[in-house]
């Protein structure tokens, strides 16, 4: 039962703290909206318009994300046109938050970094602090609480310097939130208290109330119920004073919850009745859902199962209302994902499938074992489970996303590290010096052109998971024609493909070709050949790199001595076999043969057959 309560508070609390991610438009916001629109359409100074655009975008966040996005984009445009680094910084900061809300942390981070650079340049401390605070919020939602805290602290230092105490209070509040999520309730209370003290000095009664509520919640988690009640009562007094009925109703729900945890059902009921009267007046689905759930729980504890059932029915009605609101938003968000990340979608579909099957099974089992009382509990359990499952699905997806990203990054690092040796680049630059000294302009220019083509192709290939044999051959030809320029007319090469149209990981063959040139052919006198074959052998793609060089016994690459390049290639081939579902039965996929008559070296490697179609 405690678990259910935890979930509810986890949903309610961050909204107060972090200025309305999903809160509906209140009357005062609507008024503000009209006046902001007036500013934008007026002929006033650019800075006022940009600031109005940013503020509007903030208000629309969570209500109409597309509109918020458009507004932020316009504000970026306008501030760029006006040439104002300061406003561009704030606009980028806004855009970063939007990307964060949309679940695109990479784009968000990019915006934040740009904003930081701008503010750093003009030494705008408030701007820097605002960005760090938002980066903190991003990490908070990613559940990376240490990083969140670190960024809040940076913001705090800056805000203390500028003396913007209202923001200092906000930051203490957020830091308290972090501590609460880290289950360090004593520290959380300390931070909330600091926020409270500042707000008290500012006479900001509205947010003073929310601080009191946060402290009460922290005490509740600590199971220090007397202090929790004390703080909630103080919050109630303040809400009454300011006339904020929404918060007042929330406070009564919160107080009821504390009493429930203390098993004082009578007191709890009194509180829910007070909350109900307010919520009905406000027509807030969210509040009503929480109230009816709490009332049902009261009844269950008091043994009044019929009343509990009726209250659950009401709770379910409001849950549907709230859920359908959330669902509409979720669908819009899913669509954005769908457009951009097909792979991501596949994983999600699989998850949803599995979860759905799981749920159906459990649902049937519960239905079979019912009485009237049990029905109420069963329905409650079902909906609770669904909520739980949603959270789990989200978390699972997040984990799989992250793992996928990490894997892709690791693979790319491997591809990059297997790129051509810097020695090659130095040799190329040496040759260039020669052309320049000879004042041979045309050769210099075409040499630079070819070198940049090769580097571009290397970069492009490194970002791909697979390339076709045709692309690999084109790349090798580009590379080897370069080596030819360095080695002169005595060097020639030939690449042959036995009519195969297959895929392979990029940057596997080039290190082998480079080894052959460097250790086998470069030290040799006379004609130098390099041959590369692509063929099919026993359900594998076999690639042979053969040279007529000096051989390993005379070259630098002695038998038994394993070069770094070969090690990386070997590891990547192994990874590829594992990925294609081969077990470890194939011991080695790369073989080196010493040729004797004539001398030379032959390297063969085997890869899984991989078709695109």
């Amino acid at each position: 039962m405690d678990y259910r309560l935890t979930i509810r508070w986890a949903l309610v609390v961050p909204f107060w703290v972090l200025s309305g991610l999903l809160t509906p438009l209140f009357a005062q916001e609507k008024e503000k909206l009209d006046s902001l629109n007036l500013v934008i359409n007026s002929s006033g100074p650019d800075s006022a318009k940009i600031s109005a655009l940013i503020e509007l975008s903030r208000i629309y966040t969570g209500i109409d994300d597309d509109k918020a996005f458009l507004l932020a984009k316009t504000s970026i445009q306008k501030s760029t046109e006006a040439g104002s680094s300061k406003w561009l910084g704030f606009a980028l900061n806004r855009m970063g938050t939007l990307y964060d809300v949309k679940g695109k942390p990479d784009s968000a981070t990019a915006c934040f970094i740009k904003a930081l650079t701008l503010f750093e340049e003009i030494r705008n401390l408030s701007g820097l602090a605002a960005v760090y605070q938002n980066i903190g919020v991003m990490h908070y939602y990613q559940k990376d609480f240490d990083k969140a805290f670190e960024n809040y602290q940076k913001a705090l230092t800056l805000r203390s310097k500028t003396g913007e105490v209202n923001y200092v209070a906000q930051l203490y509040n957020n830091m308290g939130g972090v501590m609460r999520r880290k289950k360090e309730y004593d520290s959380a209370i300390v931070y909330y208290q600091r926020a409270l003290e500042i707000k008290r000095g500012l006479k900001d009664k509205q947010s003073l109330a929310s601080s009191l509520m946060n402290i009460s919640v922290a005490y509740q988690y600590k199971r220090d119920f007397n202090s929790a009640i004390d703080y909630m009562n103080r919050a109630i007094a303040l809400c009454k004073e300011t006339g904020n009925d929404y918060d007042l109703s929330s406070c009564h729900i919160g107080l009821g919850e504390i009493y429930l945890k203390m098993r004082k059902t009578k007191e709890a009921k009194e509180q829910t009745a007070l909350a109900l009267a307010l919520a009905q007046k406000l027509k807030s689905n969210e509040l009503l859902l929480n109230i009816y759930e709490e009332m049902a729980l009261c009844d269950t504890l008091a043994g009044d199962h019929k009343s509990a059932f009726l209250n659950y029915v009401d709770a379910m009605y409001y849950k549907d209302q709230v859920y359908s609101e959330e669902k509409t938003k979720a669908i819009t968000r899913l669509q954005t994902f769908y457009e951009t990340e097909k792979k991501d979608k596949e994983i999600r579909l699989l998850n949803i499938d599995n979860e759905a099957k799981d749920r159906e099974k459990k649902f049937l089992v519960i239905i079979l074992s019912l009485s009237l009382v049990l029905l109420a509990i069963a329905l409650w359990a079902f909906f609770n489970k669904q909520k739980h499952n949603r959270v789990l699905t989200l978390q699972k997806k997040e984990i799989e996303n992250k793992t996928g990203q990490l894997k892709a990054q690791a693979a790319q690092i491997a591809r990059l590290s297997s790129q051509m040796n810097p020695h090659f680049l130095f040799n190329a630059l040496n040759s260039l010096q020669k052309f320049v000294l000879n004042k041979d302009e045309t050769s210099t220019l075409s040499y630079i052109g070819d070198l940049s083509k090769l580097m571009r192709a290397t970069l492009n290939n490194s970002t791909k998971e697979y390339i076709s044999i045709a692309e690999e051959i084109a790349y090798l030809e580009l590379y080897l024609s370069f080596e030819q320029k360095l080695l002169g007319a005595e060097f020639s090469f030939k690449i042959e493909n036995a009519g195969l149209d297959l895929l392979l990981p990029p940057m596997l063959i080039q290190p082998l070709a480079e080894n052959a040139v460097k250790h086998g052919l470069a030290p040799k006198q006379g004609k130098k050949y390099l041959l590369i074959f692509f063929e099919k052998e026993n359900e594998f793609l076999k690639i042979t790199v053969r040279d007529n060089g000096v051989g390993r016994s005379r070259g630098a690459d002695k038998p038994g001595h394993h070069s770094v390049a070969l090690g990386v290639v070997q590891e990547r081939i192994h990874a590829e076999f594992t990925k294609q579902g081969f077990s470890d039965t194939v011991p080695s996929h790369i073989h080196i043969h010493d040729l004797t008559d004539p001398t030379g070296t032959e390297v063969t490697l085997h890869l899984p057959l991989l078709d695109e179609f």
């Binding site: 951009t340 579909l349 220019l445 075409s446 630079i448 052109g449 940049s452 083509k453 078709d611 179609f613």
Partner: protein, 248 residues
């Protein structure tokens, strides 16, 4: 003489391009250069150039900010860019000429030769429209395409393309209006431009528009398009294809 200007935010690059043009393309006379988008716009108005070498990245601005100011452009453009990013794909979709930096003098000569051979300014304008239209939408897919054909260019909305079929190094484009275009680009180049969620490379020789699928025969792994054409789904693409539809 071809009256050309260079808009580029790096002074060194301007000098290199100027020198390369002097040496390898004597028919081009560089009458001015600008370092920012704003100066570029002024320079175009003052010099009325035939040809602009336009850098894609201009500090915080872009070369597109320059051409936005000229809805009926009397000039042609050759873009210059250092790396291949989203905007680069949009340039490809519009078939406007481009050069990768560092500029290769042979490619420069090619591009100038192409410029001289294309007399039709209205085609040029349409290409610019396609480019600006695609940059304006935030989707990953492009709305409009310029397609090189044997007798010039065809301009199409991506949504009108029903399917593309490989024909050696050419591509046959079948539209919803039952037209058939032959393009000199190969299917792989089209695959880069026609992406999810609307298009799907279902086979070595086919890219299909998912909006024009009428039915799917699971047993034979064949889709029927709205004009009754039957197209194979490759064995290795079947699973991915089916997943696209689980959603609906």
């Amino acid at each position: 003489m071809i009256n050309a200007i260079i808009i580029e935010d790096d002074k060194n690059n301007i000098e290199v391009l100027r020198a390369l043009l002097e040496k390898f393309c004597p028919e081009v006379s560089v009458t001015g250069s600008a370092l920012t988008a704003g100066d570029g716009v002024q320079l175009i108005k003052a010099n009325q150039p035939d040809l602009i070498f336009l850098d894609v990245e201009l500090g915080n601005e872009t070369g597109f900010d320059v051409i936005k100011n000229f809805p009926s452009a009397a000039f042609k453009i050759i873009f210059t860019t250092a790396h291949e990013q989203y905007a680069f794909k949009a340039i490809k979709a519009s078939c406007i000429e481009y050069l990768l930096k560092p500029v290769n003098y042979r490619e420069l000569q090619e591009a100038v030769k192409k410029f001289a051979s294309q007399k039709n300014l209205s085609v040029n304008q349409k290409k610019i429209e396609v480019l600006l239209d695609n940059l304006g939408n935030t989707n990953s897919a492009f709305n409009k395409l310029a397609i090189p054909t044997s007798d010039g260019y065809a301009f199409l909305n991506a949504s009108e393309i029903m399917y593309c079929q490989a024909d050696l190094n050419y591509t046959l484009i079948h539209t919803s209006k039952n037209e058939r275009l032959v393009s000199s680009k190969n299917l792989k180049e089209f695959e880069e431009l026609l992406s999810a969620p609307v298009f799907f490379r279902c086979h070595k020789s086919y890219i299909i528009n998912l909006n024009y699928i009428k039915k799917f025969n699971r047993a034979d792994s064949v889709v029927y398009m709205t004009n009754e054409t039957a197209i194979d789904i490759a064995v290795r693409k079947k699973e991915e294809f089916l997943k696209l539809f689980e959603k609906f």
